[in-house]
Point group: C2
Chain length 163, copies 2
DNA sequence: TTGCTAAGTCTGTCAACTAGACCTAGGGTG
DNA sequence: CACCCTAGGTCTAGTTGACAGACTTAGCAA
């Protein structure tokens, strides 16, 4: 059997791993999900994610430190000043990850009633989808049509023993 | 400030949450990353993910139980029969999630040298991208152009107190 | 002065992760 | 035969992290 080429390369500095270091836990995903739903306040986040307050606090701080969220102040009439959390551009750019999870969950893990939330194009109201395409304009239906190749950051492994 | 409509609805049975219940941890993502790279064997997975053997064992079993991987046997000449793990269709359909993470990581978390792996369309060799589109054919550039609306599974919350 | 609320922090318990040693089955070697 | 080698695990002990629930804080209102 032919071995995949990646086995000859280092794994260090993988971009997926770097991304997972920022959002690689359930809590962060739930927080981001709510942020994309427009939820901004601590208490609302807590009710909707079901996370313990401390975990939520940690996640919000971590996501803010990483620049995915930005802490802002708001004040309702007759209330003191409070904080809310808003997505930054960096955070918003994670949207495709959430959409991909939503689509997969809808296909394989949904309840009988269908999804709780659907996504519409704000301009035209049509449903939003993720599409895998190539820059030559072809649509890809499956991971099988994709070939991983070494990128510019690929480093040959110091081979210890036979590969 | 207007409150987001989701606050009036239940959070139960969210499809994102259901998806996260299957793959919502770092280990599972790393295993899937390697599976998409073509890695199939326990030892190779262990070296490349850096996961402790026990965690890897747990994740492989969990992903197999969930039907994302399938355990198969292989035998090299002069070797005893061993096991390998291959992606099922259900597992392969998670590919967009990994691609989304890869793209985000490439933009915001990559090292100076660029990505380790690039994705090519197997047929034409052009680089593969994930695109957010609507079914009317528009391309969306940002999460801001997306409007979440209640889906068929949305359930109004039993309101306790003012919303 | 007391109470209310949002947004936290503190504490104790329990589950999960981690490192590292150990085990096992089949084949090769002396 | 007796022994070693390897892939693919399991076992154990120690540490970290998640969780539930109580407590704290700041500002406004009665």
């Amino acid at each position: 059997m032919e071995r995949p080429w990646v086995l000859g390369y280092e794994t260090r500095n993988c971009t997926i791993e770097a991304a997972l270091a920022v959002v690689g836990d359930r809590g962060s995903f739930l927080v981001l999900r709510e942020a994309f739903n427009g939820v901004r306040r601590f208490g609302d986040m807590q009710r909707r994610t079901g996370l313990p307050r401390q975990i939520l606090s940690n996640r919000l701080r971590a996501l803010t430190d990483q620049g995915l969220l930005r802490k802002a102040s708001y004040q309702e009439p007759g209330q003191r000043q409070r904080s809310e959390y808003r997505l930054t551009r960096k955070g918003m750019d994670l949207f495709p990850v959430l959409v991909a999870l939503l689509e997969w969950g809808g296909r394989y893990a949904a309840g009988p009633d269908g999804p709780l939330v659907e996504l519409q194009h704000a301009d035209c109201g049509a449903p939003v989808r993720l599409a895998l395409t190539c820059s030559a304009g072809h649509m890809l239906d499956s991971a099988r049509e994709v070939q991983p190749v070494p990128g510019p950051g690929a480093v040959l492994a110091a081979r210890s023993g036979p590969i």
